[in-house]
Symmetry: C2
Subunit: 333 residues, 2 copies
Amino acid sequence: MKRPALSTTTLVLAAWLTLAAQALAQTDPLPSWSEGAAKKTIIDFVQATTTQGNPKFVAPEARIAVFDQDGTTWVEQPIYTQVLYCLERVPAVVKAKPELKDVEPFKTVLSGNHEAIAKLTMPDLEKILAATLSGMTVEEFSSQVKGWLATAKHPRFKRPFTELVYQPMLEVMKLFRANGYRTYFVTGGGQDFVRMYSEEVYGIPPEQVVGSAGATKFGYDKAGRPMLTKEPKLLLMDDKAGKPEGIHLVIGRRPVAAFGNSIGDKQMLEYTQAGDGARLMMLVHHDDGTREYAYGPKSKIGTFPDALMAQAKKQAWTVISMKNDWKRIFAFE
Amino acid sequence: MKRPALSTTTLVLAAWLTLAAQALAQTDPLPSWSEGAAKKTIIDFVQATTTQGNPKFVAPEARIAVFDQDGTTWVEQPIYTQVLYCLERVPAVVKAKPELKDVEPFKTVLSGNHEAIAKLTMPDLEKILAATLSGMTVEEFSSQVKGWLATAKHPRFKRPFTELVYQPMLEVMKLFRANGYRTYFVTGGGQDFVRMYSEEVYGIPPEQVVGSAGATKFGYDKAGRPMLTKEPKLLLMDDKAGKPEGIHLVIGRRPVAAFGNSIGDKQMLEYTQAGDGARLMMLVHHDDGTREYAYGPKSKIGTFPDALMAQAKKQAWTVISMKNDWKRIFAFE
């Protein structure tokens, strides 16, 4: 059977539609976002705050956008990446200090007994953090973390943790930066840990990472060379009230935009909102158990309690539904 | 008597010389510096580290230059500006808390007896710093400092402190920034204090001020608005060993250039020098009692002891003579 010939008009129209669709895709700064209120809120905010003469205009020097990390820009389930790092670092620590082999909590971690490890108490965990995050120079720590990141894999996704980054949030960060905003991490995670990959993975340089920070101690090695050693002393716990406190310590300016995903980000969003002029507060809601994890207010983990959802509604914070607002979650999808 | 007529050649030559001198002046990035080793060292360093293909080339993201403040970029005699601020703030503190009127060291400060004030001990001074630098919100502190800076005058120069800035150092900062460097203060002074004028006076934004830092506490005012209150708890003493520690905390990168003027900057210069590749370490030497103050190794103040001068020579740090290397010290000269 002979197919009917396509008219010239039809061909021209088809070509035009293809070109138009490509042009639209090229100019959409958030291609991984579904059309909807969340996407529109972000694009409108960036446009309004960077347009001269707009009442919401924000001076270039004040354009600071802050992002929580775990659960806001990458996967935080089933365990914080840094906590996994610390647990997996224990064998190397015990190798260097064999006397720890039979001492708790190191003994339990070495046993590999997942049930027992899951039951470790907060003080146990603190001992593990202290042993794996301090006692070395900052350069030694850097090479330890980089070595681990190069080989460690996520238990469910079987990929490096640095690939488990939310593509829609990378697009938001790029959009802000393209419009003169400086993007900062404000994370409960360790400042030195996050600095090891923030520039390569997120385009956020080390000096724009605010995180939980331990003290360092300046001294000299045996050859008389200056060195900084990581100390088991916490200077800043960058979570909850610690987030605005950390922002003041490191940045010294109130952000105009803040992105979080949990009760630990509440104070950061409140502090951001309390400034004058245009403000943007957003919360990523984990409601996609198929593509990622579902642990929003309906789940039992409790990082996004009903009270936070109610506050978001009351204070006009935008809640991002991972299920509905994100066309894709990861770059590798 | 008739003056001899100038030949056309002479006129052309004179015009050419004038133009050439102007062109030279326009392209000299450090016009307040006398020609000499210090000036040449700075210009050569910036040129080498920003020229692609030069073995000393420094990648743009690593271009960090750090500057001490008191004594390096502005006058620190006869008293640190911030200490004077704290002393002059005492009457307002006592007005708000009249019970302090008869309590030492506030009583002595209120007496105006200069001799007695000069004899206050370190613990006395700490009480004054705590009372004048904490207890208020960060916004209240900001307006208190700005109000003081607008009216306070230096006892000898009879000018606002923000004019007692070393013009040659402003030129150095601008030269570095024009070549892709980020300039940071790393000061023993209070981080929040220096942030009040650093952007306007030096072009250094608040997020690039590393200083001695007190904790803040997040909370809510009576109307339920979020606020940060300055606490009398020191998080970072940004002097001596605290300088590299503060650099790591806030910047997270080793600087490639460091400028100081005293024994308190020694560790910062050592830490800067210990990195790979091109490095620049410089010390401002106060040897001009006529135009400013002379308190270098030959004087008794002891902030620049002979040992520091010997170390500078041994480690090839460049010492800047205010007397010989600076054509002018202040913009108002």
